[in-house]
Each structure stands twice: as structure tokens, then as C-alpha cells.
């Protein structure tokens, strides 16, 4: 070591740098992040894949015929048993671009639908996470900071939402809005829009975020630096923005992967119950729903999307755990219930 280096003051790393160094050392978290990013990339390539394979994953193609090893193979095979009324879709060919995972009951390429479906699942859960974090943070900040009657009303409302079984609430909201969409003032969301599940899932998880944020804001509200700012006459919104929000950022970041995992499961459940993503659009949940009828003949149609959900959710959870340990080790944010 040179003398100059000794004379230099020790370079102090900021808390963020320390946290990210810690996260980078967490091999499980990094591997999970890689897996998740890979899934995201694959789903983003869905249009390219469909174009390359020359299939339309949204149109029913019962009479399509494909070529395998030079032989013509129909996508739907007429049943030869009994009355011969039923069809059995093509099983997996294990050839990329050529009905890799076989066809579904409408003769559509399951692989292409998987990628498109993943895209909707990821978009919905990601957008719902952002929605929940914004609304939940706003509610938590307002309730925790202003206290009094505002807090009482907001907290009681959150209590009631919290006591509600999540799935029942989500299903109720979906059923009501599925036929006609939502039309409140300037907001006009058509039925069948991907925004419907985003908003519904976003709303039902608001208490998950708002309650812990409220608690944190409440204790920050009585911390010395905030009391000092209030005494100096700094306006409330400025204190919220400059002093309180930065102090809850780590909690919010830790929420992102864990909320997204929860949202993915919820979205898939709603779609499975056919009240989430509407046909002809696909999500992993709707593909499982389609595959239910084929479960005993072509089980892959239902198995693969479930596996995709499990892998994505697990990757998000492992990464979320690592993120929490790195950023906010004493945090009480745990893997979600339901």
C-alpha cells in the first residue's frame, strides 16, 4: 500500500451501496433475479415468437394442419372411439416454433399462448403492484401524518378491508365490473381491458401496504427532526415529501417483489375463475382454465402455465427475501398470506 493511500480518508460507502453489495453477495437472490428476468425476456419476445412460428395465438384454428418430419399432421384429431364426436388436440411436438407444447382445445399453439399469457400476467401484477404502492403509501402517509379524524376514518376503512377475505373481495369486484367495465367520471375502462384486473387486485391489497406504512409514519411523525421541522413552520406536504417519504423508501422497495408475487397468484386465480383476463386474451391463469378440460388427455396445457407461475412467484419471493435482508433486516414485512 502506498503512503498516499494511507493518508487518504477511508472512503465511506453510503447505506445504499452497502445494501447492494450485500444483495450482490446473496447467491440465491441473484440467481432468482436472473431466472425472473429470463422469464420476463421470454414473455417480451412473444410477438416475435408468434411471427416466427407463423401462428395466431388468439384465433381458433381447428382445421390447421402442420408438417412434422415431412408428414401432414392435423392440429385437432377427431376421436375414433364411441360416436366419434370429440376432438383431441395435438400433443407436444417438442419442436420450437411448431406447436412445441401442442395445441389447446381450439387448435391454438400453447407455447405462443404461454408467452403472451405470461406477458399479461407480468404486466397485470406489475401494474397492480405500482397501483397498490401508490394508493397504500398515500393512505398510510395521510393517516399516519395528519392523525385525528382523518386517521380514524382511514384506519377503520382499512380495518374493514383487511377483515375481508381477499379473494372474496377481488371476486366480487371482478364479477360486478366484468360485463360493463368501470365508468366513473373521466375513468372509462371497457370490459375485457387488462386494466380491470390491475385496479381490482391493486385495491384489495391496499391495506397490506397502508397499515405498516401508517405505523412507520406515525413513529416518524413524533421523531425529533419532524417535530423540529413543524416548529420551524415547514408546511406539512413539504415535511411529508422531504423528511418522511425518504425514510420509508426501503420499506416500499422491499414490498415490490413480495407484492408482485402475491399479485401474480391473485391474477391467475381470478383468470382461472374466468373473471380476470378475458378471452381471447390469455394469461397463465386462463390457460390453466382452458387446460382443465384437457387435464386427463393433454395435461401439459394445464401443467406448464402452473409451473411458470410457481417458478416466477418463487423467484420473486426468494429475491424479495434477499432484498429485505439487505435493505431492511429488521423489517416485519413477511411473505404474504392467502
Amino acid at each position: 500500500m502506498s503512503n498516499q493511500a494511507v493518508a487518504m480518508p477511508r472512503k465511506t460507502r453510503g447505506p445504499w451501496a452497502v445494501a447492494f453489495a450485500k444483495l450482490a453477495r446473496d447467491r440465491a437472490a441473484m440467481a432468482s433475479l436472473a431466472v425472473f428476468l429470463l422469464i420476463v425476456l421470454a414473455c417480451l419476445s412473444a410477438p416475435l415468437y408468434a411471427k416466427w412460428a407463423g401462428v395466431d395465438p388468439f384465433a381458433s384454428t381447428l382445421d390447421a394442419v402442420i408438417q412434422i418430419d415431412g408428414a401432414d399432421v392435423p392440429v385437432m384429431e377427431q376421436s375414433t372411439e364411441g360416436l366419434g364426436l370429440g376432438y383431441t388436440p395435438l400433443g407436444p411436438t417438442w419442436r420450437l416454433g411448431n406447436y412445441f407444447l401442442g395445441a389447446d382445445s381450439q387448435g391454438r399453439d400453447v407455447m405462443a399462448r404461454m408467452l403472451y399469457g405470461g406477458l399479461s400476467s407480468l404486466l397485470i401484477s406489475g401494474a397492480a403492484t405500482i397501483f397498490t404502492l401508490i394508493i397504500g403509501t398515500a393512505a398510510g402517509l395521510i393517516a399516519g401524518y395528519f392523525g385525528g379524524i382523518t386517521d380514524t376514518v382511514l384506519s377503520r376503512l382499512l380495518d374493514v378491508l383487511w377483515a375481508f377475505p381477499i379473494y372474496l373481495l377481488a371476486i366480487s369486484l371482478s364479477i360486478v365490473t366484468i360485463a360493463q367495465g368501470i365508468r366513473i367520471g373521466p375513468i372509462d375502462i371497457e370490459s375485457g381491458s387488462l386494466w380491470l384486473p390491475v385496479i381490482i387486485i391493486g385495491i384489495v391489497y391496499v391495506p397490506y401496504v397502508a397499515r405498516p406504512i401508517r405505523g412507520q409514519v406515525l413513529s416518524l411523525r413524533h421523531s425529533e427532526f419532524v417535530l423540529a421541522a413543524i416548529n420551524l413552520g415547514v408546511p406539512g406536504w413539504r415535511i411529508l415529501w422531504r423528511d418522511i417519504l425518504p425514510n420509508i423508501t426501503t420499506t416500499l422497495i422491499v414490498f415490490v417483489p413480495l407484492m408482485m408475487a402475491l399479485n401474480m397468484l391473485t391474477e391467475s386465480a381470478l383468470s382461472f375463475l374466468s373473471i380476470g383476463v378475458q378471452p381471447p386474451a390469455a394469461s397463465w391463469g386462463t390457460i390453466i382454465q382452458d387446460g382443465q378440460a384437457l387435464l386427463y388427455t393433454r395435461p401439459l396445457v394445464a401443467l406448464v402455465p402452473g409451473l411458470a407461475i410457481a417458478v416466477s412467484v418463487m423467484a420473486l419471493n426468494v429475491f424479495g427475501d434477499g432484498l429485505r435482508d439487505a435493505l431492511d433486516p429488521r423489517s416485519k414485512v413477511r411473505l404474504g398470506r392467502d
Binding site: R156, L157, D159, V160, L161, A163, F164, P165, I166, Y167, L168, I171, S172, L173, I175, V176, T177, A179, Q180, G181, I182, R183, I184, A261, L265, S268, A269, F272, L273, I275, G285, I288, Q292, L295, Y296, P299, A302, L303, P305, G306, I309, A310, V311, V313, M314, N317, V318, R334, L335, R337, D338
Partner: protein, 323 residues
């Protein structure tokens, strides 16, 4: 003391009232969701719509409709379905309670026992390969969609391996009454119990492990070691005992929610006609009276579960008793 109980009771009523209002508003006052249009059908004329509206009382003020509905659910109990006219809603709910209770009770026993074992073993061997394996499996359980797991179970036990020695005992899907056929009741429920329990085993095993490890850092554990107690006793009587508080809270809330209809997905996949399935069918038909009845029933259970949690809390933690 009496004041505290009354206060708690008041809170319970408030939460139930809140839930009923929210559900009522969701179905009767969401812009664009016209219940009369649903009942009258797609191509109904304006006159028919008006008639339906009047007939079902949708033209009266909202609070009147709300009060009437609550009266019919809780006081007279003669609420009838909008879809199958004449079908009494309250008895239908009562009939499906045993199915849901059977499903949830069995699964709860399974998940509590297994997750306590997993939590203890993982905490005792923390950072070992066994701990890591158990926690990874727990995470897998949390990450799988429950309805998908149910389908996989069906695929294995009803179709692919049904004829093997391992699963030939599995009866076809459906529910059998305990009083008619106790053995059939048990056998039909085994696979649904396992399916439902797997998710919760994952959550509870992980939560308990974390709580035990946190307890093991406490000063009183060092005192217990200084007393010369065995590691097993320290783990079970001191660390586990103080960790159960978090565990019980979670259990009360989840149990209440499940009995209240959150087991819906499991019920749908396994063809069990419990509360969840009833709610789901009613939602599909937008059968508003049935939805109100099942959701109110759900909220009663959730609220009772919350109160029971508070009570057990006091039993478990003497620090709360004096106040």
C-alpha cells in the same frame, strides 16, 4: 373488564357492518352494474326492465334496500334467490357449512402439526442443509397456485396413477356426509386436505422458524442455558412457547378467512359444495341475495376468529392480562 368486552363487541359489530355496506355498495351501487339488467336478461325492453326494477325493489332508496336485505338475512331468514325464485338462501348457506368446516378443520390440523414440526426442526438445525431444504420446500408451497396444485393432485390420483397401489383408494371427486359414510367422508377429503394445507405449511413453517430464531437471541434463553436446562427443553419450553404468539395470530385470521369462503378455489377444483363454491356459483349468476348471505356469513366468521385470536393472545401472553 366489562367495558373492554363491550368495546371489543362494538368493534366486531362495526367491522361486520362495514363489510355488509361495502358488499352492498359493490353490487347495488357500482356504476354500470345494474342488477335489474342482469335479472331481466340481455335483450330486455325498457318496460320489462322497469317492471323488474319495481318488482325487486331496486327503485327504492339504497338505504331502504339495504335495511330490507339485512332484515331478511338476520331477522326473518326468508331471503330468496333472484335466480331460482323461491329458493331460500339462508338454509342453502347452512347446508354448505359442514362441507367447508370439514375441509378447513382437517387441513388446519394437518398444517398446524406439520408446520410446527418443520419450524422447530428448521430452527434447531438453522443454516444446515436440512434447514435450507425445508425452507425451500416451504417457499415452493407458498408459490404454487392452490387450484393448480389441486389439478395436479387430481391428475395423479384420479387419472395417471389411480390404478396403482398408491392411489387406488382415492374415491371420485365430491363430498360424502360424515353421518352417512364416515369412511367415505374421510377418504374423499384426504387429497383436498393435503392440497389446502401445503400452502399454509409453507407460510407457517417459515414464520415459526423466524420467530423461534428471534426468540433464541433473547436474554432469557441465555438464562435458561445458565440454569443447566437441556437444549431440547430450552427450544420447546422457552423459545417455542414465546414464539407461538405470532403463530396464533396468523392462524386465527387464516382460519376465519378460510371458513368464510377463501377455500373457494379448493372447493371448486375438488367439486366440494361448500360455502366457497356456493359463493362462486352465486357470483357467476350475480345472485345478489345469495352473495349477500354468504359474504355476511364470511364476515361473521372472520370477526369471530379475530375475537378468538385476541382472547388466545391473552392466554398466551401474561403481559397482556393485567391491563
Amino acid at each position: 373488564m366489562i367495558y373492554a368486552i363491550l368495546r371489543r363487541f362494538g368493534q366486531m359489530l362495526f367491522v361486520m357492518f362495514g363489510i355488509s355496506v361495502i358488499v352492498f355498495l359493490i353490487f347495488f351501487a357500482t356504476p354500470g352494474a345494474d342488477p335489474a339488467a342482469r335479472i331481466a336478461g340481455r335483450n330486455a325492453t325498457a318496460e320489462v326492465l322497469e317492471a323488474v326494477r319495481h318488482n325487486f325493489g331496486f327503485d327504492r332508496p339504497l338505504y331502504v334496500q339495504y335495511v330490507k336485505m339485512m332484515e331478511k338475512i338476520f331477522v326473518t331468514g326468508d331471503l330468496t334467490s333472484f335466480v331460482n325464485r323461491g329458493w331460500k338462501v339462508v338454509p342453502a348457506v347452512m347446508d354448505s357449512i359442514p362441507v367447508t368446516l370439514s375441509l378447513v378443520f382437517g387441513a388446519a390440523i394437518l398444517w398446524v402439526v406439520v408446520s410446527i414440526i418443520i419450524g422447530i426442526v428448521a430452527a434447531a438445525t438453522r443454516d444446515s442443509w436440512l434447514d435450507k431444504l425445508l425452507m425451500a420446500l416451504g417457499l415452493l408451497g407458498i408459490s404454487m397456485p392452490v387450484y393448480w396444485l389441486g389439478e395436479v393432485m387430481n391428475l395423479i390420483t384420479q387419472s395417471r396413477y389411480h390404478d396403482s397401489w398408491a392411489f387406488s383408494w382415492v374415491p371420485p371427486l365430491g363430498y360424502k356426509n360424515f353421518s352417512d359414510d364416515p369412511k367415505g367422508w374421510f377418504l374423499t377429503l384426504v387429497i383436498p386436505w393435503i392440497t389446502l394445507a401445503i400452502l399454509y405449511i409453507g407460510i407457517y413453517g417459515r414464520v415459526l422458524r423466524a420467530a423461534i430464531i428471534e426468540s433464541l437471541q433473547e436474554d432469557f434463553i441465555r438464562t435458561a442455558r445458565a440454569k443447566g436446562l437441556s437444549e431440547t427443553r430450552i427450544l420447546l419450553r422457552h423459545a417455542l412457547r414465546t414464539s407461538l404468539i405470532a403463530f396464533v395470530t396468523l392462524f386465527g385470521l387464516d382460519f376465519g378467512a378460510l371458513v368464510g369462503g377463501s377455500a373457494l378455489l379448493t372447493e371448486v377444483v375438488f367439486g366440494l359444495h361448500g360455502i366457497g363454491k356456493l359463493t362462486y356459483d352465486a357470483l357467476q349468476n350475480l345472485d345478489l341475495p345469495m352473495i349477500m348471505a354468504t359474504v355476511m356469513y364470511a364476515s361473521v366468521f372472520v370477526v369471530i376468529a379475530n375475537a378468538v385470536v385476541d382472547f388466545v393472545y391473552i392466554l398466551l401472553d401474561p403481559r397482556l392480562r393485567t391491563s
